[in-house]
Symmetry: C2
Subunit: 372 residues, 2 copies
């Protein structure tokens, strides 16, 4: 036993696993707490409460509704302190929003950045209910010289040696003119504790790190906000470069795996006959305009049929009939393109590596065995 | 590419990891889908919907409420086929039930059985609403020569080479006289898809494998039921022995980790001062009668205060004030005893290994750093 430990003793710098290094106890600890959306639930327009992905940096805090206040301050004309009733009395909207963790796909990078080891499943779409952020900020009157608006949650912990309350910012323009909501409900129920009760930010189109949960304060600032989470969520090749900030979600398509699984390997078994492949595709940059599907391990790609989008920020359903007439092993996959021309990688083994393990839109690999 | 693969190509026998073997891609795949209850939620009497542990052997099936039928048949006088409305019209009860996966703790065994790699968190308590099973079976009239009642779900997959619908049995006596419910709700809402919608079995006091989800058939049989899941959930030292069936939950206490965590290591940081330790303890065999807590890595154990139980099948809250007055690193833990005298191991490093990785009630290790 030692005395006088400090934060550096409990919180190590970020690192990348050695080329063949297996998943460690720390990564398993995160995987056991946090959870993805089982991919068969891609069949649902709206992800059932409890099946949506969930990443909690620290602990899920307990925030009492009765004493809750949202403080809006900093470089504003009229600071506000609102209780939950005052917020819920404001004009409300409900909209389906696809949220995805910026780290989705991380554990599929080679080499693997060591953090929450997501495969493909850190995504979900719920119908979020709340009041638009912009009008509330307009009432507070953001000062002309403010540049950023900082959102701080009640969740507290340490990350890479830095003790902090989770905090992220948006530019004043994005906060005022964007589509962000102060949300108190999802899929028709009050927010559950793990999704940020009683109030959270939802920033449609952005990776999940922007949608601060357990929101307790909004502050306009006149210098660019450079908090820990703004420095962490950046695309870098090396730890000493500034990198590019993660913002909008890059396009991705996923498939609900056909057939039925083996418990342990999750390999899919499919019987011969006609199947309908289906899945969802989304992008924070624009509408999904194309999904292509391979049923022969990437040799050929077929255009999927796209359903009508259910909203500007919700995933889009795609389908493709599949006639299975020979036994064998195949890899199935799908790749998406959006209206801005942004696209997933075209090849099954292509990756665009970065040190934080972010925005890995490498193609899904659905291993399927057709029984003879 | 090969042709004509069979089930043995996609589904390997169960195995135990080599002594230093790290977590594999298959285990990570399961950990990303299935999820535990973040232990800070031990502060809640009832686990919020979506935060309760969830183990899905195969896929979450889609069962349409409109066409749903529960068939009750086999060795009965009056076979029944009931729609959901008929079931929900029956007498209803609501009761808090603690459910725990039989594999909770598996990944903490040395060596580690290779399967869903739970640490401590495969538990939860919800208030389940449904109709008692016994009276419904009495109406169907179970034949005198029936010995078991088999419950089959709509979830279909392969496990260790065996293709199956998930099925488990109870003895006729346990089914008729026990406390099992046919449940359609939890915590005041209809079952979400991932918890077995529209109808599931809940067997209070038993490990979770007995509580068949997506229930579609109940069948009385005159020979002992020996389905795959009955053979799998047994305590064995070697794969070739019959082993002992898992039934009631062994006693366990868990602590809501105090202080706040480091994101990656989950080590807890605690400031000097007064803290209240709290957690829950439960047993399927009887009431929890004692919880002891160590704050000095097992050197001494202090009795915790037990709250009044909230029901015969729900976990029991415990608390202990903790005055922190010196810096250092400690392991905190708790150990439970129930009214039958069954107890957790007494030592921090004690384990009662078995090949399936079941009922590992080895003591929790909450690593805490008190800053100097």
């Amino acid at each position: 036993m030692t005395t006088g430990p400090d934060l550096a003793d409990v919180s190590l710098p970020s690192r990348v696993a050695a080329p063949d290094e297996a998943v460690g106890a720390d990564e398993l600890g995160l995987a056991a707490r946090n959870h993805g959306m089982p991919l068969e639930l891609l069949r649902h327009d709206l992800t059932p409460v409890g099946a949506h992905y969930l990443l909690t940096h620290y602990d899920i805090p307990y925030v009492a509704e009765q004493t809750f206040r949202l403080d809006v301050g900093g470089a504003v004309r009229t600071p506000l302190s609102l209780d939950l009733a005052a917020i819920r009395d404001r004009p409300a909207v409900t909209m389906p929003v696809t949220l995805e963790c910026a780290g989705n796909g991380r554990a599929r990078f080679h080499p693997r950045p060591v953090s929450q080891p997501w495969l493909h499943e850190a995504v979900g779409t719920m119908a979020w209910t709340g009041t638009p952020l912009g009008p509330l900020l307009s009432e507070a009157g953001i000062d002309e010289d403010a540049v950023d608006v900082v959102f701080t949650g009640a969740d507290h912990g340490i990350e890479r040696g830095v003790e902090q309350d989770y905090a992220r910012s948006l530019s004043v323009k994005a906060a005022l003119d964007g589509d962000a909501l102060l949300a108190w409900g999802c899929n028709g129920v009050d927010l559950p504790p793990q999704h940020g009760a009683p109030l959270r930010l939802v920033v449609p189109g952005w990776y999940g790190m922007a949608s601060v949960k357990w929101l307790r304060s909004i502050k306009a600032v006149t210098e660019p906000f450079d908090g820990y989470q703004m420095r962490a969520y950046r695309m870098r090749q090396h730890s000493d470069e500034p990198g590019e900030a993660l913002t909008l979600i890059a396009p991705r398509a996923l498939m609900a795996p056909p057939g039925f699984p083996d418990f342990m390997s999750r390999t899919r078994v499919v019987r011969m006959g006609r199947h309908e492949l289906e899945g969802r595709a989304w992008s924070g940059h624009g509408e999904i305009t194309s999904v292509e599907v391979t049923v022969d391990s990437g040799a050929t790609w077929l255009p999927a049929k796209l359903d009508t989008p259910s909203g500007p920020f919700a995933w889009r359903r795609w389908t493709l009939p599949w006639e299975v007439d020979s036994a064998g092993r195949w890899i199935l996959s799908a790749r998406a393109v959006d209206s801005t021309g942004r696209a997933q990688p075209t090849e099954l083994n292509e990756q665009h590596w970065n040190r934080g393990g972010f925005a890995n839109t490498s193609l899904q690999r659905v291993e399927v065995v057709v029984l003879g």
